[in-house]
């Protein structure tokens, strides 16, 4: 079988496009978790972002308002989570689950009037360069701005956590809120900020789905991607670069199994559809098996409420 090099490029490009929402949501959640807060409401925040983006795009006609509005909606709904877990000191797990249920419900309610409306075309960058370099062109060119942002985000996140002072503060708050507090860091403020940032990224991930990837609104359109993003954060042992790898493997296997079906590979289809979940977990567990590193990168106070504050 002759494999056309541009065909490979096309497949890699579609794998990357499918990984975008996972990378955005995971990198957002990673910052939240690094500050010691476990927010299980990723799916809920994503779906809120999806409906807000789509609704704003339909009502205002402006893509910029829609994208930022979706991020703002993610911020607003995560404020509820922040208020409950940080100010009222509720349990993180229960509150996060409630946030997901709330998000799915309220997005369905708002979305009633937006079902059956086609979305607008989202502009892509470097369209003209699409046929210049074999293999690389479809990968590098002709994507939306959110796509490029998503692939820069893991590196920015990694740099932020390792090399910047604010990143250090976030990690300190997640590892030992007591010591951080004694150093004069306002633990509650830092955690609030990280929760809101996570909300914004999840909102953007949702908007990518409803405005760029499949421009339409239907209920539950995130289809469990929020849960996969959550799992990626844990299995990547809170490492943004490994999130990128995990998201690519997951997206890649989802797409490659469709190709295998279309070619007619005789493997049970049910096994093929389960493959992305199984392989992603195995790979991430294997590349992260250094227990010392896991201990170092796991936020020690993850999911624990912090009572004392200045």
């Amino acid at each position: 079988m002759i494999v056309d090099i541009n065909f490979v490029g096309l497949i890699i490009a579609s794998i990357m496009a499918s990984a975008v929402p996972l990378i955005l949501a995971s990198c957002g959640e990673l910052i939240t978790e690094r500050s010691g807060v476990l927010n299980l409401g990723v799916e809920g925040m994503m779906i809120i972002g999806a409906i807000s983006g789509f609704a704003l795009m339909t009502v205002t006609g402006s893509l910029i308002i829609a994208v930022f509005g979706a991020m703002l909606a993610g911020v607003l709904i995560s404020t509820i989570f922040g208020f409950l877990t940080q100010t009222l000191i509720t349990n993180h797990v229960a509150t996060g689950l409630a946030l997901t249920i709330f998000g799915i419900g309220i997005s369905a309610m708002i979305g009633k009037n937006f079902v059956g409306i086609p979305g607008k075309e989202f502009p892509v960058l470097f369209e003209g360069l699409k046929d210049t370099i074999p293999l690389l062109s479809p990968i590098l060119f002709g994507h939306s701005i959110v796509f490029y942002f998503a692939f820069a985000l893991p590196f920015i996140t990694s740099y932020f956590l390792k090399k910047t002072k604010i990143g250090l503060i976030v990690r300190a708050v997640g590892d030992s809120p007591e010591s951080a507090s004694n150093q004069g860091i306002n633990v509650r403020f830092v955690r609030y900020a990280c929760i809101l940032y996570g909300g914004a990224m999840c909102g953007l991930a949702g908007a990518y789905l409803s405005m760029i990837y499949t421009p339409q609104w239907i209920e539950n359109m995130t289809g469990g991607r929020g849960w996969i993003a959550l799992a990626l954060v844990v299995f990547s042992t809170w490492n943004p670069i490994k999130i990128l790898i995990g998201a690519m493997i997951f997206g890649g296997l989802t797409i490659i199994q469709f190709h295998m079906q279309a070619i007619g590979v005789r493997i049970p289809v049910q096994f093929l559809t389960a493959l992305p979940y199984i392989v992603t977990i195995i790979v991430l567990v294997v590349i992260s098996r250094d227990s010392r590193k896991i201990r170092l990168s796991t936020p020690s106070s993850l999911g624990k409420s912090f009572y004392k504050d200045n």
Partner: protein
């Protein structure tokens, strides 16, 4: 005394009249049980369009969405029956047993179950649509319009309804173009726009230039539009989502049947039956044909549509062979409803195996 008699006579006449009117236009309340959200723009959405038609006909309706096909369904049905509903439509295959069970407890309430075959009590009727007739038309169009001779088909779950659609589509496409290949990809979902788009993209990347779907969202036609290939709308007219890609859509049109059955309850003429309506009865509707289709193809499709409606043409007319070459339907015969209802083998020309 005299006056009193007249007055009471008149008032009792008025009363009698009011009662008669009330009895004739008895307030029939209809309830609908949905498997998905009404916002899916697919299966449930179309049932809800049907429910609104009942409402427009002057009847009160209620609906419950997202009801799981489990003991929950029984609980919902019981509650609807208890709260004064006269007819209850259960719109998913998995409601079959709960519907029959609850129907036994409420002999005065009529139950209508979609896509099932069990009618264990006189107050249970079943109904379904012959969507495969619509797919015969899509196959004819796909076989004519393809240039690469590769047609992609995004399927949902391996059940007779879906297999029947694939077979009917492929038979029709082969008839106009013996060289075509139907590539099937199972998405194992009824609607997940992201996954459906990925499945369609995989088929397009592998050379398919016409994409058919048996999943519900509009993601596939949008992907086809982006890639510059043809596609068909599912359940509702999806033309506005992909004006260039969508050649036509097969629409589920439940409204007339629902209005009919609710009126029958109001008139007291409702009786148990099994309905399986197709293009002829208007339950399956073919949307407007795209102008990109050559005029002789448009004429051919219109004629086929009329012939399917009149019964002159049947989607499964012999000789039909399965993948191994065994005769399924003999020459000159047509597949009977029993065979169609339980169809779990591919016809010759479909590639791959049915997932077990």
């Amino acid at each position: 005394m005299h006056k009193f008699l007249i007055r009471s006579f008149v008032s009792s006449l008025v009363l009698l009249f009011t009662l008669t009117v009330a009895a004739v236009a008895k307030d029939v309340k209809a309830a609908f049980v949905y498997i998905g959200p009404t916002g899916d723009h697919g299966w449930t959405y179309q049932h809800d369009v049907g429910r609104k038609a009942v409402e427009d006909a002057g009847f009160e309706t209620t609906y419950v969405e997202g009801v799981p096909e489990s003991a929950d369904a029984e609980r919902v049905l019981r509650q609807l029956a208890n709260s004064g509903h006269d007819i209850i439509f259960t719109t998913s295959f998995g409601y079959m047993n709960p519907t029959n069970k609850v129907a036994k407890e409420f002999p005065n309430v009529k139950f209508e179950h979609a896509t099932g075959y069990k009618r264990e009590h006189p107050n249970v009727a079943t109904y379904a649509a012959r969507f495969y007739e619509g797919r015969t038309i899509l196959g004819t169009i796909a076989g004519t319009m393809t240039k690469s001779n590769v047609i992609g088909y995004v399927a949902s779950f391996p059940i007779p309804e879906v297999i029947r659609g694939i077979n009917s589509f492929t038979l029709a496409a082969q008839k106009v173009n013996p060289n075509i290949k139907t590539k099937i990809v199972w998405a194992f979902t009824w609607y997940d726009p992201g996954k459906e788009a990925e499945a369609a993209k995989a088929l397009i990347d592998q050379g398919a230039d016409v994409i058919a779907q048996h999943t519900d969202s509009t993601a596939i036609v949008q992907m086809a539009e982006k890639a510059g290939v043809y596609a068909f709308g599912q359940a509702s007219d999806m033309d506005k989502f992909a004006p260039k890609a969508v050649l036509t859509s097969v629409e589920n049109n439940w409204g007339p049947y629902y209005v009919d059955r609710v009126k029958a309850v109001a008139n007291g003429t409702w009786s148990q039956k099994d309905t399986w309506h197709g293009i002829g009865d208007g339950m399956v509707v073919i949307s407007g044909l795209d102008s990109q289709m050559p005029s002789d193809l448009q004429a051919k499709v219109k004629k086929l549509q009329a012939d399917l409606a009149s019964g002159k043409v049947h989607s499964f007319t012999g000789p039909i062979y399965d993948q191994k070459g065994n005769l399924m339907v003999a020459e000159g015969k047509t597949a009977d409803d029993g065979m169609l209802a339980g169809m779990m083998t591919y016809v010759k020309g479909v590639e791959g195996d049915i997932p077990k």
